[in-house]
């Protein structure tokens, strides 16, 4: 078994995307490998210009909740999702995009940030990653 973390990024909520990126960059920083499998609402965040556009999973309040949380995050100097994603890639993280989601949602490769995506796959791609991981999460 490889020292590896594989996370299914199913949610497109801003706060959950933070969890996925913080855990995965943390794993890479501590010497593990890491893979992120983006599917459903999660994959939507890899559409060009959509990374920071996710709602808050709770208390979104038509955007007011998100605005307040973002303000608090800014005050606490929390890194942006974009920065975390760039760090994830720089430290050797792997990103897999779910092809079925692309089909269902009518997302074409050119709609996605192709420069970040290492592989386009289906459940088999996730299982191959997960079976050699000692951490796997569904977020």
């Amino acid at each position: 078994m490889t020292d590896k973390a594989t996370i299914v990024v199913h949610s497109g909520d801003m706060d959950k995307l933070y969890s996925a990126l913080i855990i995965s960059t943390g794993a890479l920083s501590m010497g593990m490998e890491a893979s992120l499998y983006f599917t459903f609402w999660g994959l939507e965040r890899l559409v060009k210009g959509k990374l920071e556009k996710g709602p808050l999973s709770k208390m979104h309040l038509l955007g007011l909740g998100k605005w307040m949380v973002r303000r608090r995050m800014k005050a606490a100097n929390v890194a942006s999702l974009e920065r975390l994603l760039q760090d994830f890639k720089e430290l050797g993280g792997k990103i897999i995009a779910c092809e079925m989601t692309m089909e269902i949602m009518g997302i074409r490769r050119e709609d996605l940030r192709e420069d970040l995506i290492d592989e386009y796959g289906a459940v088999g791609a996730y299982i191959q990653e997960a079976r050699e991981s000692n951490i796997t999460l569904f977020i």
Partner: protein, 106 residues
């Protein structure tokens, strides 16, 4: 110590060609002057100090000393954990008020 061509701007880990000013007089000065790469993550929060440490360690060469200066309390515990997992040597940890300095041997 001579200037290194790989000089990075901003929050990027940077090679330094000047000894780092020593916060304490005396014997520690020599130790402080030895760092080859310095990462300043003061004011940064989770996971930035840990991530920037890893980025700096990847850029370091064998024999280098990497120095991380930060204020995030949890990172002071996590960075040594990461070093243990990576099989790297923790040279020392110093604290002055809220600021900690971790020195790593490659």
């Amino acid at each position: 110590m001579t200037a290194h061509p790989a000089f990075h701007e901003g929050s990027e880990p940077r090679r330094i060609d000047q000894p780092i000013p020593c916060p304490q007089p005396g014997a520690a000065e020599e130790v402080y002057g030895m760092a080859d790469i310095q990462v300043d993550v003061r004011g940064e929060t989770c996971p930035v100090p840990l991530v920037e440490t890893r980025k700096a360690l990847r850029k370091a060469s064998p024999g280098d000393t990497v120095e991380i200066i930060g204020t995030h309390p949890a990172s002071k515990k996590e960075i040594p954990m990461a070093l243990k997992a990576l099989g790297l040597k923790l040279v020392d940890i110093q604290e002055e008020g809220d600021v900690w300095t971790i020195r790593i041997g490659i």
